[in-house]
């Protein structure tokens, strides 16, 4: 029981890496949708804010900022597993998107695509490495505790 509990706690503690990875995957999906829209339909993007991008935290964030113009207000809707720097980067993106002419908008989206490709690779590796580490550490602590008690 103690072992199981501490394993769960260990895993939970490192879940943030997996959550962050999933969040950024959703962010990348949004950016890809924006690129496709600009290339083909070149319509408004407000409708996308209600779409499902495969991650609840990201979808919830979009839902909160859909009519929020103020960038400082946007930042409070981002999940806590993101660092301050990551939050500021995301807020900068959602404050800038839609506000430029075609060429500048495409430039922003393409730069973001390249950035997100690298970021997602990095987060995938972190998620793989730390998720199993958390479970193992939790198990070890649990077993050690059991032994000490016994």
């Amino acid at each position: 029981m103690i072992t199981a509990l501490s394993t769960l706690i260990g895993k939970r503690f490192t879940n943030k890496y997996k959550d962050k990875y999933e969040f950024y995957k959703a962010y990348e999906k949004f950016n890809s949708t924006a690129i496709r829209n600009l290339n083909f339909r070149n319509g408004g993007i407000r409708g996308f804010y209600k779409d499902d991008f495969g991650n609840k935290n990201f979808n919830d964030f979009l839902g909160e900022i859909i009519d929020e113009i103020d960038s400082e207000a946007k930042i409070k809707f981002l999940p806590n597993y993101l660092t301050e720097r990551e939050k500021n980067e995301i807020v900068d993106y959602f404050t800038s998107i839609g506000r430029q002419n075609f060429n500048a908008e495409m430039d922003l989206l393409e730069r973001t695509r390249v950035f997100l490709d690298e970021k997602i690779k990095e987060l995938k590796e972190q998620s793989r490495r730390y998720s199993s580490l958390g479970a193992k550490l939790g198990f070890t602590i649990g077993m050690t505790t059991m032994i000490i008690i016994l």
Binding site: L38, I45, G98, F102, M106
Partner: protein, 298 residues
């Protein structure tokens, strides 16, 4: 003759791009009679409305900043400036409810052409109106069963576009003709809000030379409707269509026929002898009809 103020219906203005406090203040003026809203950075908003045959301007206490105006444009564009680049070049945006928003700011010029407007400081919001049946009197008396070329004349705010739209609808529905609307500023269709008739086609945001020439070539219209003939190029394009056997309904700014005859740009319209009827409007009513020889018939 024509429609009364009772028939004239302002399409429910949504003004979703305005901040809520400003929207409430504007609607408090009386949304049914709203004609125009003037929004200028750091100045009070002005609402223009119609009451007892008069145009009245009223100041609303709210002011907006330049930043708020930019946010309004962002909402009008559905959060994508890139999608309204062409509209910015032309100096206006049409909202999803058909409100036409004229823009004033700093023109961005490249290679001698205006490519955009930035640092926007003023918006002029005009509301579309419909008056189904406002051309029935004229249609039943002068058109009946064969389409005619008509020039609709009136000053601004007196119903030229509304009348031309309704006349086109009559041509569509009562004579079963294919009618092509050249909707340069999306004022005829209002983004799909208005009924243009069951046999209508719409070319939105195109200039008149393209609309007339390509329209005749590929859309096979029997009638073409356009708004605000002003330049020699407009007149030549219209002439091309008329000479191709297509009937034309057009509008021109002016208080009466004599004003059209005296203006350098529009007197050529009369010289061409294209039109079968000249219809003069005032306060959304037909006040005079002249035939192609400029003789008053009504």
């Amino acid at each position: 003759m024509g429609c009364s103020e009772k028939n004239l219906k302002c399409v429910d203005p949504m003004l979703d791009f305005l901040p809520q406090n400003i929207k409430s203040a504007v609607f408090a003026v009386g949304e049914d009679n709203l004609r125009e809203i003037r929004i200028r950075a750091n100045r009070k908003i002005i609402a223009v409305y119609y009451s007892d045959g008069e145009i009245i301007k009223k100041e609303i206490e709210n002011t907006v900043s330049g930043n708020q105006i930019e946010n309004m444009i962002l909402k009008l564009s559905d959060y994508s400036f890139a999608s309204i680049e062409n509209n910015l070049k032309m100096g206006f945006i049409t909202s999803s409810q058909g409100e036409r928003v004229g823009i004033a700011g700093e023109c961005v010029v490249k290679d001698g052409k205006i490519v955009s407007i930035k640092n926007i400081t003023s918006l002029c919001v005009r509301f579309p109106h419909c008056a189904v049946g406002c051309s029935n009197f004229f249609f039943d008396k002068f058109i009946v069963d064969a389409p005619k070329n008509c020039l609709i004349i009136s000053p601004p705010f007196h119903g030229k576009t509304t009348f031309a739209r309704d006349l086109g609808r009559n041509y569509c529905d009562k004579l079963a003709l294919n009618v092509l609307y050249l909707d340069e500023r999306d004022e005829f269709s209002g983004g799909g809000v208005f009924d243009l008739g069951k046999n209508s086609d719409v070319l939105r945001y195109c200039d008149k030379p393209f609309g007339f020439i390509n329209g005749v070539r590929v859309l096979n219209p029997e009638v073409i409707i356009c708004d605000e003939l002003m330049t020699d190029s407009d007149v030549r394009s219209l002439s091309f269509a008329a000479n191709s056997g297509v009937k034309v309904i057009a509008t021109a700014h002016g208080r009466d026929l004599s004003e059209i005859l005296n203006k350098e740009d529009t007197k050529n319209l009369i010289k061409l002898k294209v039109f079968d009827y000249y219809v003069v409007l005032a306060d959304f009513k037909v006040v005079q009809v002249c035939d192609g020889n400029l003789k008053k018939v009504c």
